[in-house]
Amino acid sequence: MSYETSVECMLKLEVNFAADHLTANVFNTEAFLANLNWQNLDECEVAVLSKLCRKVEISHHLFSRYSSDFNKPETDELLAIQHLEFFCGLCFWIAETRADMQFLNCGLKMLDGVLIEQSVPVNDCLLDWANHLLETIN
């Protein structure tokens, strides 16, 4: 899988631009993901994505809004499927571009159905990407 194919996969998964992701006390996960310039992530954005990974792996849920300190969800509404798919792609993107195995771990778990009540749809592009990333580990 070439870099161009990874970019192509991410472009397919992209979600539309949304309103600001952070209001006074609430972090809007969907808006944050939609507004990300994923080809040029800064350290703060990666740190936020890492916190979302922990939500996936520890609470097995991803909500559409959290308190600004990420301590608790601010809604019962789960993250929409297309955002979930995009987040999974982002995990692989970071694993590939930053060689960060923690993100690969999270993406693999999402594809394997670690989330309760939510699931990343079967997507050939994500599955191929996951296999490619696993094969390139040395």
Binding site: R54, E57, I58, M101, Q102, L104, N105, L108, L134, I137
Partner: protein
């Protein structure tokens, strides 16, 4: 044998406890006490209204419970033996272990896990309040914040680089070799002050990885059961050798730099299998660095 002022909280079913004691004995040390715990892990099923029961009733019920004995297949035992071919002190993990050879006193008890308040009382009553943690789940803040108590743990990974779960596998994946660190436990996950860290050569798994899916899983569990405890045992032995018979609650320890390293979660099976494949092609032999 010299006595170390240490109470080992030994999970009855965890191989790490006996490994620590055997490695300490190899340098002529035995510990003050072993608190041999039968961890139940969950409230007995017949007692739905557990929290309504008084502490004496709860304690009486708990002490009568028995944790299920782990069952090991012949193949698993064989694999554990092979993994120990290259370790410094091979250990019989499947026979009954006589803890009294390694401690001045052995007390058997039963607890649900570290959240069990009756178990907290038991710990507070110990004469030697410097504890060696071996297993039993997350230690709650109420114990870790108590200045009377000190908890020492040996984590399978070099701190601060590799914190969290599956330390053995994450260490091999991200640092290329396994490691272990002895530290004072605090409320964070593997975030306490570091007493001693060490890295080791990768274990030799040549010929053990046949490619069958269930073989990977068996190897994963065997590595955790019969290889990982040796690394921890060696690190603990180093610590005790350097500390001599001083106050173990006041050893020289360095705070961690939190800008370094990551707190990893359990490793996905696909990644675990890659680590196993990776070490299957390494021919390092001895585990000792």
């Amino acid at each position: 044998m010299k006595i170390i002022e240490l109470t080992v909280i030994a999970d009855k079913n965890c191989p790490t406890s006996r490994t620590y004691l055997i490695y300490l004995a190899s340098i002529g040390y035995r510990v003050r006490k072993v608190l041999l715990v039968n961890f139940l892990w969950k409230v007995p099923e017949a007692f739905r209204y557990w929290s309504w029961l008084g502490p004496h009733v709860r304690s009486a019920i708990t002490q009568k419970q028995k944790a299920s004995e782990p069952q090991f297949s012949t193949e698993f035992k064989k694999l554990c033996d092979i993994l120990q071919d290259h370790v410094e002190i091979p250990i019989d993990y499947f026979s009954t272990f006589d803890y009294s050879k390694y401690a001045e006193e052995v007390e058997a008890t039963t607890a649900i896990n570290f959240l069990d308040e009756d178990f907290h009382k038991k710990l507070l009553k110990q004469q030697t309040k410097t504890f060696l943690y071996t297993n039993g789940g997350r230690v709650p803040g109420v114990l870790l914040k108590n200045h009377e108590l000190t908890f020492i743990h040996v984590h399978p990974g070099v701190l601060p680089d590799v914190r969290g779960s599956d330390g053995l596998f994450w260490s091999i994946l991200v640092r290329g070799r396994p490691g272990a660190s002895c530290f004072y436990m605090d409320e964070g996950i593997d975030e306490g002050k570091i007493i001693h860290s060490k890295e080791f050569r990768v274990p030799s798994l040549i010929g053990l990885c046949s490619g069958a899916e269930d073989r990977y899983s068996l190897l994963y569990h065997a590595l955790l059961f019969a290889y990982d405890p040796h690394l921890r045992g060696m690190v603990l032995r180093d610590v005790m050798q350097n500390a001599a018979i001083g106050d173990l609650s006041k050893l020289r320890a360095e705070p961690q730099d939190f800008s370094l390293g990551k707190t990893y979660t359990s490793m996905h099976e696909g990644l675990r299998n890659k680590v196993i494949e990776k070490i299957s092609s390494c021919a390092s032999g001895k585990t000792v660095d």
